[in-house]
């Protein structure tokens, strides 16, 4: 019975709804970017059309690549994004009860998409992809420390629980975590870590079109590239969704709260877009120093404030 329920959640919410919202968000992102640059921007269906076009193209595999790993890597990342998405949806739609996994599980699963991109880049046997993948790895190392610290803030404030349902339940009663001092600082850290997890400017060194021609994805084409694109598009929903759950009160389906949820989500996507349009790319060592330096300090302050109950 539960397994049927999980299949239902996975197909309907984990894949379909997540993909649709993600595609919509990526359209917003592209449209806003275009308007900032005085262009007209793409029509609404453009992200879908791009994917469909890629699906029809043939798959090129570079000679010297490790074929199985090259094709399997996108699948690993895609599966993990779907799993995270399903975990977040089941926990949000079940009214405070917790299913499948807790905060630690989600944090760990959210590192898998980056890992799959790295494995794919390594498997392609292209030196530029290797360089890009190593940058992605260094980025993961760098942001994981402040990200973990920031994610501990809701744990502390909601009374030492790791269950997502309990964290949302606490916020329903006491107001959003982000409204406390520690929570607000942790939210800022998490948003910047999200930017890095999405590998968007200023943290796009792994893909850096102008330096290493797309880096990790340089050899990918056709349906395999489409899967990576879809994975990233879905992350554009899953990551803000995660942040809303742990910091901003979560998803509630009754009337005004649903509207508020949409507003919070659109706000986060707009923020991502603004950051990526107003910043230059950081070198990878600058990005590492940024996360291990100021961001970690801010996260530690946030944890300190949370421990004092602020």
């Amino acid at each position: 019975m539960t397994y049927l329920m999980y299949i239902g959640y996975l197909v309907v919410f984990g894949v379909a709804v997540t993909a649709v919202i993600g595609l919509l968000a990526s359209w917003i992102d592209r449209k806003v970017t275009a308007r900032v640059q005085y262009r007209v921007g793409p029509p609404l269906l453009q992200p879908v059309i791009d994917l469909v076009k890629l699906l029809g193209k043939e798959t090129l595999i570079p000679s010297g690549a490790s074929r199985t790993m090259f094709l399997a890597a996108p699948l690993i990342g895609f599966a993990s994004v779907i799993a995270v998405s399903t975990i977040l949806w089941t926990n949000s739609l079940s009214g405070g009860r917790s299913f499948l996994g807790d905060l630690v599980v989600v944090v760990y699963l959210l590192a898998v998409p980056s890992m799959s991109i790295i494995l794919g880049g390594f498997a392609s046997g292209n030196p530029l992809a290797s360089v890009g993948a190593s940058r992605e790895m260094k980025l993961v190392m760098a942001y994981e420390l402040p990200f973990v610290l920031a994610c501990l803030v809701p744990v502390i404030l909601s009374g030492y629980t790791l269950k997502l349902g309990d964290i949302v339940g606490y916020q329903t009663q006491h107001g959003a975590i982000a409204l406390s001092g520690g929570g607000a600082l942790a939210l800022i850290v998490c948003i910047l870590c999200m930017q890095a997890k999405l590998a968007l400017v200023p943290f796009d060194a792994p893909e850096a079109e102008t330096e290493i021609c797309g880096g990790v994805l340089i050899e990918y084409s056709g349906p395999v590239l489409a899967l990576y694109r879809l994975m990233k598009t879905m992350l554009l929903f899953v990551l803000p969704f995660f942040i809303i759950i742990v910091f901003m009160g979560g998803l509630r389906l009754d009337g005004i709260h649903l509207v508020l949820f949409v507003l919070k989500y659109v706000g986060l996507v707009a923020l991502i877009t603004v950051i990526r349009n107003t910043n230059p790319r950081l070198r990878i060592d600058q990005a590492m120093r940024f996360f291990w330096g100021p961001m970690t300090v801010v996260a530690v302050i946030a944890v300190g404030l949370a421990l004092m109950g602020w």
């Binding site: 000679s63 490790s66 094709l71 895609f78 599966a79 779907i82 996994g101 190593s134 790895m137 395999v224």
Partner: protein, 556 residues
């Protein structure tokens, strides 16, 4: 002595550890049949493996600390011999270093046992267990005894500050020995005794718990940071063997049932994946004739099964769900949280260190996978003859079994390892603070994989064409210098401010107890040596000076 007649005794903990000891002995002998073929001194090698097996069983079942220490100390000899059999030039030096570190801490253990015997009035593990009265760590003598006994477990398991023999030994000895001793048996024994010490013999205080947790966290981070910048396959794995001990000590140090169960579980998991990694590394070494990361590369094509087992074990050690490493780390984190509910704010540091350490572990293994299996083959790797270069079945079987167990222990964590081994061993069934349904989550992940395959199928993913890699329009084959081996991936980390100083000091072995100790000893003996120059006038001067001092003291 009262109760001295009980010499050997088996309880759930010792049986569990003994089963693993036996299991690894069988696997290593099987692997060695393939890996050690054609090597010399095989009689000594298999003899040492068997003696280690028997000695470990003796230590695990000993119910009396005197007997335990006899077995424990005896295990140093086969360890010395096995490491000394390595083919590296430094092998005999490393064996000596190991023997001195292990033997030196064994002396501390004897001292600790003496103090303990004096305090408790008996050396029997049985009495502690039966009476249920543990020594409180309140008096200085009790703390001394605990620390002395602890030093032995730390050296055996390879935790800071006595860890330095593990990377050296891993690099210089045969991969099968590295997989057998530092990766599996020494962890089992070290952590087994740490459990006995911490749970049965002594009653922990919050201060000592904090000390253990700090030690564990430092071990995790320091060792994994060192692993990031290594250039040798086996040495890198050796540093991870150290880093993982940190998680076990951290878990046991929490003092919470969840954390202790997690620590014990992590010990079992670590032996599985770490042995698997060493064995797969050894298989690559046998083909390539080197473990220098700069000269490997591209072995995934030639050795697909080895690569598969190595990949699974890497994901397990990095704590990627749903593999076994994640399950035990997840329990340890809850243990830290459980401990933190009642203590100060320091728990955040331990938790952040453990969780960030796992990202660093992932980074380190990604580098390894690139340098050994993926990426472009080095000129040397490309020239290897033959089509099928996969290892023989004797070597593959243990690796495949271990990798399969990494999956089983992760996905069926509740129904197999926790229910059958871990919870009975600690006589408790803790309540979880978090939530993790590995079977259902694996089910979801598989469904997700299926969804991805459907997308491939919808598109024309199977319509593939091979092309040349695109490197700015140049032909890759013409520029061999364009090869990225991966060895220098984390140079950026090494060059970070503050970290560069630490790395430089570590290169000078400033954190190596053995090296620092040797330097101290030699500088001491240099002073004495300078006094004994062999010149008669100088000796006469010393005699005169001595007489004057004696006279002064007498006349005063």
């Amino acid at each position: 002595m009262n109760g001295m007649h009980i010499i050997f005794r088996a309880d759930r903990l010792s049986i569990s550890v003994a089963v693993f000891v036996a299991f690894f002995s069988v696997l290593i002998v099987c692997y060695s049949l393939g890996a050690m073929r054609g090597k010399t001194r095989l009689g000594l090698y298999y003899g040492c493996v068997l003696i280690t097996f028997l000695g470990s069983l003796g230590a695990v079942f000993a119910d009396n600390l005197v007997l335990f220490i006899v077995f424990w100390g005896f295990l140093g000899i086969p360890l010395y011999l096995l490491i000394g059999m390595g083919e590296a030039e430094r092998a005999s030096y490393t064996a000596k270093k190991t023997f001195i570190l292990i033997g030196g801490t064994d002396c501390f253990m004897l001292l600790g046992l003496a103090i303990l015997w004096q305090l408790a009035g008996h050396p029997g593990l049985a009495q502690f267990r039966m009476s249920g009265i543990a020594l409180p760590l309140t008096s200085t003598a009790a703390i001394m005894a605990y620390l002395c006994l602890l030093s032995g477990t730390l050296a055996k398991a390879g935790a800071l500050p006595f860890h330095t023999w593990v990377p050296d030994a891993s690099e210089d000895t045969h991969a099968s020995v590295a997989a057998f001793l530092p990766a599996a048996l020494d962890k089992l024994l070290g952590i087994y005794f740490l459990m006995r010490l911490t749970l049965e013999i002594f009653h922990m205080t919050p201060a000592m718990n904090t000390f253990l947790m700090a030690l564990g966290s430092i071990t995790i981070i320091a060792a994994v940071m060192m692993a990031l910048v290594q250039h040798d396959l086996k040495r890198l794995l050796g540093y991870h063997a150290v880093s993982q001990v940190g998680y076990m000590i951290l878990g046991i140090g929490t003092g919470s049932v969840l954390g202790i169960a997690g620590g014990l579980f992590h010990m079992l998991n670590n032996t599985l994946y770490k042995s698997c990694l060493f064995l797969a590394g050894g298989a690559v070494e046998q083909r390539a004739g080197t473990t220098d990361l700069g000269r490997l590369g591209g072995y995934a094509k030639a050795m697909p099964i080895t690569f598969g087992t190595f990949l699974i074990a890497s994901l397990a050690i990095a704590g990627v769900p749903p593999f076994n490493g994640f399950a035990s780390k997840w329990m340890i984190y809850q243990g830290i949280l459980d401990n933190g509910q009642y203590g100060g704010g320091l728990w955040v540091v331990w938790l952040a260190a453990a969780m960030a350490g796992s990202a660093l572990t992932l980074a380190s293994f990604m580098k390894l996978i690139h340098a050994v299996f993926l990426g472009q083959p080095s000129t040397q790797a490309a020239q290897l003859p033959g089509d099928s270069r996969e290892s023989g079945p004797a070597m593959l079987t243990p690796m495949v079994i271990l990798a399969a167990l990494c999956v089983v222990f992760g996905v069926l964590a509740y129904s197999i390892p926790l229910r059958l081994v871990v919870f009975p061993s600690i006589h408790a069934h803790p309540e979880f603070l978090g939530l993790w349904r590995p079977v259902a989550a694996t089910f979801l992940l598989l469904l997700g994989l299926g969804a991805g395959v459907v997308i491939y199928w919808l598109g024309a993913a199977m319509k593939t064409r091979e092309t040349k890699p695109f490197v700015g329009g140049e032909t890759l084959a013409d520029f061999s210098a364009m090869r990225v081996s991966g060895t220098e991936f984390y140079k950026t980390v090494q060059d970070m401010p503050f970290l560069n100083t630490v790395y430089r000091l570590a290169e000078k072995k400033a954190f190596d107890v053995y090296d620092v100790g040797a330097k101290l000893t030699f500088s001491f003996s240099r002073v004495l040596g300078a006094c004994h120059s062999g010149e008669l006038p100088r000796y006469l001067a010393w005699c005169l000076a001595g007489t004057l001092i004696v006279l002064y003291l007498l006349m005063r």
